[in-house]
Every structure is written in structure tokens, then in C-alpha cells.
């Protein structure tokens, strides 16, 4: 398959997704003595276009590698970044592609991609238990890391009232730390 340049990949997303495309940037950094370029792409899409974006990645690279889904609590919304890598197996050709999608806290759902990438199951299970994002149609919705004695509705990565702070043990004679203050 023909390999596109980073900018051409961003353009292909814009063309493919139309209004579902939000933004796309290319990050470059020169490394070490020879100043070879380390490149990564960041593409943000709307939730409605998320599945189409993943299908598009599967067209750019057969079996794209999904490293992990990272999630961040941004206050009123939760940001998911699907860290893909494409064009692997060739010297200096590989590109990291971060596919970003923001979900409002009122509707924390995302469709599963395990039908396209079977190995996405662990990271989807982790996102579900750690961030409280419901993965729709996930084939195995059990917890992955969190033990069964942790109550429902506690999400360790969240920074709001559903965070794990209430489960922290405060040693006798100490005051609980004020976790709501930043830093």
C-alpha cells in the first residue's frame, strides 16, 4: 500500500470525515546527532465520526497497532485519545497517530472497536472501569484491574466526586488532605 505523508494523512481524514473532523496537527522533533525527525500526528474528531475515523485508519494500514487508550478528566468533559501507530516495520517510517475524541460527562459512551481491532479489548475494559466511560457493545465488560470489593461508581482516573479519594484510608491522628485543590 502507498504510504502517505503526515500532512496528506491529515487531509485524508478531513476529506473522509467532513463535518466530523475537528482538527489535525503534525508534531515534529529532531533527535540526536543526525537530526532525524520523530513525527507524530494528532487528529481530533467528533464522537459521531469516531467509528468512521477508526475504519479510515484501518484502510491506511492493515492491522493498525493500537497501543492504548489514554483518558483525561477535563472538568465538564472526558477526553479519550486512541494511540495508534501505522506504517511500522520499516526504518524511520512509522508514525504515531493520536485519535482524540471528547465526550461530555452527561453522555459518557463510546462504541467498541474490538470488531475492527480484537486486541483493543483490554484497554476498553480498563477505560470502562477507570474512567467510567461506557463502551457500547463491548464483548467482555468485566473489570480488568480493579478488584471486586471496590464499590460501583468509583472511577480512579476521574477528578470529580466519582474519584477514589473517599476510599483513601486516613491514618489515626492525621487530617484528610484537601484533594479538591489543584496540585
Amino acid at each position: 500500500m502507498e504510504r502517505l505523508s503526515p500532512q496528506a494523512i491529515i487531509d485524508s481524514f478531513r476529506k473522509e470525515l467532513g463535518k466530523g473532523f475537528v482538527s489535525g496537527t503534525v508534531y515534529e522533533r529532531e533527535v540526536a546527532v543526525k537530526k532525524n525527525k520523530f513525527r507524530s500526528l494528532w487528529v481530533e474528531v467528533k464522537k459521531s465520526a469516531f467509528r468512521r475515523a477508526v475504519e479510515h485508519i484501518c484502510r491506511l494500514q492493515e492491522h493498525p497497532h493500537l497501543a492504548v487508550i489514554s483518558s483525561g478528566d477535563l472538568g465538564t468533559e472526558v477526553e479519550l485519545i486512541y494511540h495508534f501507530t501505522i506504517y511500522y516495520g520499516h526504518h524511520l517510517e512509522e508514525l504515531s497517530l493520536g485519535l482524540r475524541v471528547k465526550l461530555p460527562k452527561t453522555d459518557l459512551t463510546i462504541p467498541t472497536i474490538t470488531d475492527l481491532i480484537p486486541g483493543a479489548i483490554f484497554t476498553e475494559r480498563e477505560t470502562q472501569e477507570m474512567m467510567g466511560v461506557k463502551v457500547v457493545d463491548i464483548p467482555d465488560g468485566r473489570r480488568l484491574f480493579i478488584s471486586e470489593d471496590v464499590p460501583e461508581g468509583v472511577y480512579p482516573w476521574r477528578k470529580d466526586e466519582t474519584g477514589p479519594e473517599k476510599l483513601l484510608r486516613v491514618l489515626p491522628g492525621r487530617k484528610p488532605k484537601q484533594w479538591d485543590q489543584k496540585g
Binding site: F38, G89, H91, E93, S147, W157
Partner: protein, 414 residues
């Protein structure tokens, strides 16, 4: 009991909570039919330590380097290496060229010791304890070298944002070369033991096979993926640090045998050749290492101020001994901690291949097949066995499983 009833019956054996190969906490639920494994379920999370939460809520970024170092005792360079690169991207911190070379030397020394450790464990799993002693004795050489160069055998605290905390001086070079020569000297001996010995071959050929297709679908990384014929190596594909100056080629087993089977034997080939490759990389780095400073911001208060003021995000990947390691970092101005920190260690994805690898295996092959992935639970975490006929569940402990594996080797040797 009617025949039809026994045919349907499988038996579930739990192995764990200390897992069958590397004495680490994970539970595997093996569904077996007689001696054959029909299905496996992996129960991770037995020792989840909330490291990411500590990095996002308790520590300042510099403290988080030393926390990242403690994610895994074996990969105590890879994790901080990955973290510092992600933060350097996010905060736009430059790294002196000399530091990039020292980082790579540290990472490659780690790969030698990790692969030697694995080779010893693999030999032990099949009951070859003399080889286990031999490889672990050989591993001591690189551990001593690491201690000599970086001041400690395990957690070395070598990395810092914008460089490394220890330089390699000219007086140290002969001692480093001596250790590298030692490995070159014993390489042929190790190659004969692991690749030509008939018992090793009988226990590892066509055991725990993972096809190229499955490796790609299940996102397998590292030597396990390369042994299945996927030429994927971050050092080659998207080189970082000083690897960008070197011309590294991913090692696949067909270099030696001409074919890719994707079994335990192929995984031995890949790791063995990678030890050799690491020695060559260290030599090349020492020869090419430019002069200059090793840190871009040696003053700690200034570094902390710079990090607290920085805003941005970064993602870095490092080829750890077990495969690709990825850290994602997000910094917000005015915040003393990392706003978001996501760590994904290679075993996290490699565990998904376990049901495929163990399918159709005999129980006695489970330890070596599982160990061949070089799973590391501190990065990511037991095996239960159920009888289809009776529905009984019994726990196979490590000693019992190991005894089965050793018995199989003895039978083969007769």
C-alpha cells in the same frame, strides 16, 4: 457415566495467584479437557498499585521519574526513559546529544540482563537447572557493569528531564569493553546450548505457537511479535534518542532458520540474537558518543519551575526488553503534578495472546509456553483448572505445575 457426558466435560484449573512461570501475581483459569487446554482466562489486577494515580495526584514530575523507575525492577530504565521523553515533548525541553547516547547505553545494558534473566527462567521451566545457573552466572557480569557505570544494580536513578544524571568517563571505557568481550566470548557457547540441544528443541519446537496474523490482531509487541514474523521494533520503526542515528534492524527468527514458526523456539532465537545486537549497539554508541554536557537544566528549582509553568502533551515510546512501552503525559500550567499520565507496559498487550498460545497445549507445557512471552506482572499480574465432567475446580500451584513440566523433559530424555 455415559460417554457423551464425559466428552462434554471440561475441568477448570486455577493456577495462581502467584503465576506459573515467573513467580509473579496473576491468575490463569485454564479450561482443560483431559490433558489439553481448551480455553484460558487471564485475571489481571492482583497487585494494582495505582502508580498512575500517584503520579497525577501526589508527586511532582521529578519525583514521578523515580516512581516510574519502580513500575518494574527489570525495566527500571525503560519506564523513566519513556516518561522523560514524553515530558520533554510536552514541556519542550532540549536534550544534549551526549545524554541521548548514555540513555541508549543504559537501555541496552538493561536488555542484555533482562534477556539473560529470561533465558535462565526458561531453562528452569523445562527442568534444565544447570543451564539456569549458567545463564544467571553470565548475567552477573552485566549487573556488575551496570553497578560500575550507574552506581546501582537495579534502580539506577540515571535519568532526568533534559538529560542524564551520570556521565560515562574515559576511564570507565576499558571496564565496559571487558564485559562486552566476555559476552562475545560466551555467545557461541550459549547459542549451542539454546539452539542445538535436542531436549530444548523437543520442549520448545511447535509449543505455544502464535501466528503472524494473530500477533497482528492481538497487538502483540516485542520479541514475542518478532518471533511471529512481525518486524516491529520501535528502535527501527520510529527511532527515538540516539537510536535515530543508528541503523537498527528488527530481528526475526527467519534470519537463522529461514522460516517463521512463531513458537517458543523462535522466541529463544530472537532474544538470543538481541543480546548480540545490544552488545553491538553499546559498542557503536561508545564509538560515536559526542562530547558535551549531559544535562540541559542541572538546577533543580529552575527545572521544577519550568515544569510547573509548562503546558502541553507528549507521547513517547520505548522498545523495552519485553516490547513497546508507551507513556502519555499532559501538563497544565500552574499544576505541580502531571495532569494526565498513562503508562502502558508491553505485558499489558502481550497477555491478550495467552489464550491463543495455550490453546491445545498440554498442562505440562503451560509453564514454558507462558514464560516464553516473558510476562512481567508488576507492569501489568494467577491459573484455575475446571473438569468438564464434574465441574470441580482445583488449584494447581507453582510447584505442582513445575513438577509436571520437569517430568515431561525427563520422559523425553529417556
Amino acid at each position: 457415566m455415559a460417554v457423551s457426558e464425559t466428552e462434554k466435560g471440561t475441568y477448570t484449573i486455577p493456577i495462581g495467584p502467584i503465576h506459573p512461570a515467573l513467580k509473579e501475581p496473576i491468575q490463569l483459569m485454564l479450561e482443560i479437557d483431559g490433558e489439553k487446554v481448551v480455553n484460558t482466562d487471564v485475571l489481571a489486577g492482583q497487585v494494582h498499585r495505582s502508580i498512575e494515580w500517584l503520579g497525577m495526584n501526589r508527586n511532582n514530575p521529578v519525583q514521578t521519574i523515580y516512581l516510574a523507575e519502580r513500575i518494574c525492577g527489570i525495566c527500571n530504565i525503560c519506564h523513566p526513559f519513556c516518561l522523560v521523553m514524553a515530558v520533554e515533548q510536552a514541556a519542550n525541553i532540549a536534550v544534549p546529544d551526549r545524554a541521548e547516547y548514555i540513555r541508549v547505553i543504559a537501555a541496552e545494558m538493561e536488555r542484555i540482563h533482562s534477556h539473560m534473566l529470561w533465558a535462565g527462567v526458561a531453562a528452569h521451566e523445562i527442568g534444565f537447572d544447570t543451564v539456569f545457573y549458567l545463564t544467571w552466572r553470565a548475567r552477573e557480569e552485566v549487573m556488575d557493569l551496570i553497578e560500575y557505570v550507574f552506581g546501582n544494580r537495579v534502580t539506577k536513578a540515571a535519568l532526568q528531564f533534559g538529560g542524564v544524571r551520570r556521565d560515562i568517563t574515559a576511564e570507565q571505557l576499558p571496564r565496559i569493553q571487558k564485559s562486552l568481550d566476555y559476552y562475545k566470548g560466551i555467545f557461541e557457547h550459549l547459542r549451542r546450548i539454546f539452539l542445538e540441544d535436542k531436549t530444548v528443541q523437543a520442549r520448545t519446537r511447535n509449543v505455544g505457537t502464535l501466528s503472524t496474523e494473530d500477533a497482528l490482531k492481538l497487538l502483540t509487541v516485542g520479541p514475542s511479535a518478532r518471533a511471529s514474523g512481525v518486524p516491529k521494533d520501535v528502535r527501527q520503526d520510529q527511532p527515538y534518542s540516539a537510536y535515530a542515528d543508528l541503523n537498527i534492524k528488527a530481528i526475526t527468527p527467519d534470519i537463522v532458520t529461514g522460516t517463521v514458526v512463531g513458537d517458543v523456539y523462535d522466541r529463544i532465537i530472537v532474544r538470543l540474537l538481541e543480546v548480540k545486537q545490544s552488545i553491538e549497539i553499546i559498542e557503536e554508541c561508545i564509538a560515536k558518543m559526542p562530547e558535551g554536557p549531559t544535562m540541559s537544566e542541572p538546577k533543580m528549582p529552575r527545572l521544577l519551575r519550568l515544569l510547573a509553568a509548562a503546558a502541553g502533551e507528549g507521547v513517547a515510546r520505548v522498545e523495552a526488553p519485553r516490547g513497546e512501552d508507551i507513556h502519555y503525559v499532559r501538563l497544565e500550567a500552574g499544576q505541580q503534578t502531571l495532569t494526565t499520565w498513562k503508562v502502558r507496559a508491553p505485558t499489558y498487550v502481550n497477555l491478550m495472546a495467552v489464550p491463543t498460545i495455550l490453546k491445545g497445549m498440554q498442562i505440562a507445557d503451560v509453564p514454558i509456553a507462558f514464560a516464553s512471552l516473558d510476562p512481567c506482572m508488576s507492569c501489568t499480574n494467577r491459573v484455575t483448572v475446571t473438569d468438564r465432567a464434574t465441574g470441580r475446580t482445583s488449584l494447581l500451584d507453582y510447584e505442582e505445575l513445575h513438577r509436571l513440566s520437569v517430568e515431561k523433559t525427563r520422559k523425553l530424555q529417556r
